[in-house]
Symmetry: C2
Subunit: 404 residues, 2 copies
């Protein structure tokens, strides 16, 4: 018998219990043992809940119970989640989570403890919800040199940008709709400022590079400056605006970025619409592979957690190794980040700006008259930032162009 | 040291040797041992080949050499490939292949021998080329009840259908182009008649159901009847015509089919164009996940083989288990296969046909005058086949409509 303790009886935690119940046959067969939930930790009361008898309020009961094999951390937040995870691992219990904030902040330390204690720390559900992406990075791509990862990693912003694209809505209206549908929080910062996507690309890149990439070192721009005129330009370019998390392995140095990008309709990422997520992986031999699916949602996220529970069950007493090692990745500086930039600039500053950033083509939208939209030459980020500083009052907006 | 023997020095086999050379650092690190190619089996001579010293002509050298750990079967064909694979497994050597014909025909027997001999039989490269799809089915989806698989599994026909869609070409012209580009064989039967896709969906379904699905039991229709008028209708329906391999788990019974389908532009499969492949997996908890990438090509296929070599290396002396078991899947009969059919019928037979199959909507294309195109009610395949038999001289073409 494999004993599981689920910390947190909210959306994700209760989804995990539901799947272990409903797919009992599949879960037990895959685990080669009976998987049973022994405790559910939550400070709240759930009178009448079918699992009321399993509810406890003190996490110590879990970490001190030698019978507990696997702990699901579905608490959210950072400090307590981190503390409980660490204590569970130190007591030799495998921990499984969807908590990207804890993984991005403390992942490498927790992986190390798991290894010392012959247990595992798994977090498939922390990136891309139900999309199996971390396990393939850890297994199927091991023989590849991964050159880059490009992902639509946040369903809320992708829902908003898709609406703006398809219906010509403006930012404030789609944000309101996303909030009313429950996709966006009342304080939508984590989504719209790119913080959520930033944690996820940090985790993906740490796995793909085999080194530690700190999310704090990733340039992160959100979608708050994107408006419907940008989408008119995008349409003229045969493109759409998407919030991407991307990273590139530049001869061993790591280039990583979260920002809105112009994505051409030739890219498979263009077709990723609404709340869906997708991750594209480029291997040096394999070329591009895309993983697409539900990036959030109770059962999709819980399903990824249960697949990790199964892995821990099969590998009881052993550590499932992770490619992510305790060595700092060298981050590429801005001179090595090279893009074409789509830039909207006031007419009077156009000539001057083009002198600094070059021009590949103009993009003409009939509805605007006092500005010029154009695509710059392929230039480095530092060159662009310098030009931007000089012309700052004249640049209306800019969006990098995805070239992979 | 892990000793590998590569049987076949053609496109795929030489690609495997190339990746083991070029990605030596990654391959050895992932394998936790040095991986080295000891033999290359081919009846041909390759004077001047950098690996000329490894070439042998007698497979017995490989199966009798106790030092050989892993055999790559990249011979193609069935009989010899099966014989050599079996002997290698019986001698305790793991075998890795991209040979879908052998896997579909003899997979379950070879998996059984591998298990008895504590070695592995892996075939990630046999479906979807470089797309990691079999390993996720074997691992990430273990806790799911897989309800269905829908795949664009043949790059040649997808290239042809994409051309017909985008450029309004007719079948014979795109076939010639596919042949001149080397995508289609001189005898294109295996691709255009759906036989290749049929083997692949048989393998995918055997894994997803955990039972044996014989490819001979899968209804298989190719694309030879598809012409440019069908694409005019498809456009009116906001769809495109795709050759799909699909299977559904109907309360434990297996429904499987290879045929051209109308795929709506709302489906992520619609955006899969050219030689690319994609596989959509529906789990009962997870919902839909899509895997997309290069379905063929030297290095993509070889990369999938090398990822299997790595797996065999790490699991030396053990069997990597496969969900596919030696139990026959019960195949659903035609009364349980239910679709909407798009049907083109001669005007005079329309009323009569509608009496049998019902009508959801007419589809009007200006360029045709002596026929009527319409979508039937959702009806069972046996009902449709009966109606088709009665009206056979009047039905110009029919294409099932994808509803998942």
């Amino acid at each position: 018998m494999i004993h599981v303790a689920v910390m947190g009886h909210g959306t994700v935690g209760s989804g995990v219990v539901e799947i272990i119940d409903k797919n009992k046959k599949e879960v037990d067969a895959a685990s080669k043992d009976e998987v049973c939930v022994k405790y559910i930790l939550d400070l709240r009361d759930f009178p009448g809940d079918p699992h009321e008898d399993l509810l406890i309020k003190d996490y110590k009961i879990i970490v001190d119970d030698p019978e507990v094999d696997i702990v699901v951390e579905a608490l959210g937040g950072i400090d307590l989640a981190y503390k409980y995870t660490k204590e569970a691992l130190l007591n030799g219990k495998s921990v499984v989570t969807s908590n990207k904030a804890v993984v991005a902040e403390h992942g490498v330390e927790l992986l190390k403890i798991a290894k010392e204690k012959n247990c595992s720390y798994l977090f498939e559900a922390s990136v891309g919800g139900g999309i199996p992406i971390l396990r393939p990075l850890n297994t199927s791509f091991r023989a590849e040199r991964i050159e880059g990862i490009t992902g639509i990693l946040n369903g809320t912003t992708n829902f908003m940008l898709t609406k703006m694209d398809e219906e010509g809505c403006d930012y404030d209206d789609v944000l309101k709709e996303a909030q009313s549908k429950g996709y966006a929080e009342k304080n939508p910062e984590a989504d719209v400022c790119g913080y959520d996507a930033c944690r996820k690309i940090a985790i993906l890149t740490s796995l793909s590079m085999g080194k530690t990439v700190h999310y704090q070192n990733i340039t992160t721009e959100g979608i708050t400056n994107i408006n419907k005129v940008d989408f008119e330009y995008a349409k003229k370019m045969g493109a759409s605006v998407k919030l991407l998390g991307l990273s590139r392995n530049l001869d061993g140095e790591c280039m990583a970025l979260v920002a809105p990008f112009m994505v051409s309709d030739k890219s498979p990422l263009y077709a990723v619409r609404g709340v869906f997520n997708a991750v594209m992986v480029r291997g040096n031999m394999l070329g591009d592979t895309l993983f697409y699916g539900q990036g959030a949602g109770k059962l999709a996220t819980a399903s990824a957690i249960v697949s990790d529970i199964v892995d821990c069950s099969i590998n009881k007493g052993k550590t499932i190794e992770c490619t992510w090692k305790d060595e700092e990745a060298v981050m590429a500086d801005d001179s090595k980040k090279v893009f074409n930039y789509f830039i909207r600039v006031k007419k009077e500053a156009f000539d001057n700006l083009v002198k600094s950033v070059g021009i590949k083509e103009k993009v003409v939208v009939e509805s605007v008259s006092d500005e010029i939209g154009f695509v710059s030459d392929r230039i480095s980020e530092d060159k662009f930032l310098k030009a931007k500083e000089i012309c700052s009052n004249s640049i209306i907006n800019y969006i990098r162009i995805l070239d992979m």
